[in-house]
Symmetry: C2
Subunit: 355 residues, 2 copies
């Protein structure tokens, strides 16, 4: 995938840099883990520091010191998560800032305006992601509105040559709705297409079926992006189904709660058994953390509340995901994705492993 | 100064790595700021993770990944700071761990045992540092006991060829007591000598006088270490008086409270005027923070509670101190220390600047 900020090898995993920082990490360190795209959150950057400020300072790449590709979400998912503080209408989503109580209306037009102001490489269309337990009728109505919002996003674009836009296919766990919505979204000739409304509480079986259904519906000559996924098995299974792009807080958030992905399975930093363990977190890992520090030291930092622990664990977890994506790309080249899928299923990160 | 872990250019500023980590920083980053020695705290490492554990894992250098020189304090200053939780006797200082309530007795023998177990390059003798408002009689009696403790430290050493020991001169703000104690401490032929009991609340005038008095009393062929100092002016003035080594939490702690040393004076990160300021923290600084990030971004990270801000500010402040020490060494070589002292006094870090 070619963007204004470089060529991205697919499939790719995008670390989440919510507020313009992949938590605890320098941009150069994120790049060292193999990441070529980071995700920024429109909602967070709108509220702090504000998109016009970022624009006036030269855009998000310069602001955050990231020279690779940036994809921003539309802000829709986050404002909808505010629950009592937001209200959906045809116009958009009205919400109150949890920081200062100020009222905002996030509309398709504003979402695109923000993303273009940030100077993102890939903007996501503004959509509604209905909750996992939404009734079929609601999903159908919501999906129709998301299509109308997509038209408004398309009309609002001011710099399509500089900022790509991906459309998002919704439809909940209903295969026919997924098909119907995919048709509507594909009617717009967009730079890529995303599968939204997954990994939000539905069963793993439903998720994998939706991914299978959706990838079959999306064109092979455009990137296919599975939003908010995922765990190691999900990545392998989704790539096997045809997905090219992922974002998820799993590696970074788990790192900050001391949950470490290793070749032997999850290691929990604070566990007493690490107290005097001179081995690295993962003996099969060549990340800077595993090359330089022991489990005992990392547990000591954790116990002592030292900031450094978040750096060491985040570096390792992102490295683990970077290596997994490299293995997936190698398996695609070698035509051995089904072997990798079987192997992953039988390994420490079978179906729900790593949660 | 030559230690088992390298040659140290003097004068040197030692960043504080309390619990085996210069907060927020990787060892390689600390080294990049020009630091060649870090300080570890015996008290903290005794309680967490325990000195025998560090010893069994190969010592503090390996544990913390620091290949340069390590100096450890004796633990005396920290246990005395526990106030209600400690009791001083001839034997040592009995105290309760604030973490788990366990009782400990830190004695001269145990302090040396811990420091040798940690594998420190330079151990500090176990001393009492009386409070700044202590009466002369108390200071005199305490100082005599510190001398007896020094004898016990000397007797307790098991690896003098591997671990140097510095003696500490006390005597409060009383010039005659300082002289008397220096004589007692110098009677031990030690690898270096420290000026203790300063920067603990006495006036700046008293401090500078004590430094002047003390440096005159200490031999020129051994390192002279001024403990717990200091602010930029203090460093320049103390070197002019003959001091070779310093440790202080000022650069690292100020960094974590968002107070930044720059060539134009202190910058407070959270101040509203930084909100849209695209300039680096210090336009005259070549540290990685100033080369890559704006005040606006750093303030944004601060406001958003992002961990990265502590890395960026700590890197900058340590870099500032590293550059200041390099300027001091250059001024010594050029014979212009008095010029540098005058210049410093007239600049943004005159006498109390940077507090």
């Amino acid at each position: 995938m070619i963007t204004p900020h470089g060529t991205v090898e697919l499939p790719t995993f995008m670390p989440v840099g919510t507020a313009g920082s992949v938590k605890a990490m320098l941009p150069e360190e994120v790049a060292r883990t193999g990441a070529q795209v980071i995700l920024g959150n429109t909602y967070h950057l709108l509220l702090r520091p504000g998109h016009t400020l970022v624009r006036d300072l030269g855009g998000l790449h310069k602001f955050a010191g990231w020279s690779g590709t940036i994809l921003t979400d539309s802000g829709g998912f986050q404002v909808l998560s505010l629950k009592e503080l937001r209200k959906i209408s045809e116009e958009g989503v009205a919400f109150q800032s949890p920081y200062d109580g100020r009222k905002h209306l996030l509309s398709p037009e504003l979402s695109i305006e923000i993303q273009e102001a940030l100077g993102t490489d890939i903007a996501m269309a503004f959509d509604e992601c209905p909750p996992a337990d939404a009734e079929r009728d609601y999903v159908a109505r919501s999906m129709a509105r998301t299509t109308r919002w997509l038209q408004r996003c398309q009309d609002a674009r001011r710099q399509p040559e500089r900022t790509s836009m991906f459309g998002i296919v919704q439809g909940g766990v209903y295969d026919d709705l997924r098909r119907e919505h995919a048709e509507q979204v594909l009617a717009f000739d967009l730079d890529g297409y995303a599968i939204g409304g997954v990994a939000i509480g539905e069963s793993k079986e439903d998720m994998l079926r939706v991914v299978d259904t959706s990838t079959d519906l999306l064109p092979v000559d455009r990137p296919r992006y599975l939003m908010g996924v995922g765990l190691p098995y999900d990545l392998v299974a989704a790539v096997a189904a045809g997905v090219d792009m992922f974002d998820c807080v799993v590696p970074t958030r788990n790192a900050r709660t001391g949950r470490i992905f290793t070749s032997k399975g999850l290691v929990v930093v604070k566990n007493a058994q690490n107290r005097d363990d001179g081995r690295p977190l993962d003996e099969d890992c060549d990340c800077p953390t595993c090359q330089n520090f022991s489990r005992a030291y990392i547990r000591h930092l954790w116990t002592s509340g030292e900031i450094l622990v978040h750096r060491l664990t985040t570096m390792h977890n992102l490295w683990f995901f970077g290596r997994l994506m490299a293995r997936i790309r190698a398996a695609i080249d070698a035509g051995t994705m089904q072997d990798l899928l079987r192997e992953t299923k039988a390994g420490p990160y079978g179906v729900d492993g790593g949660r």
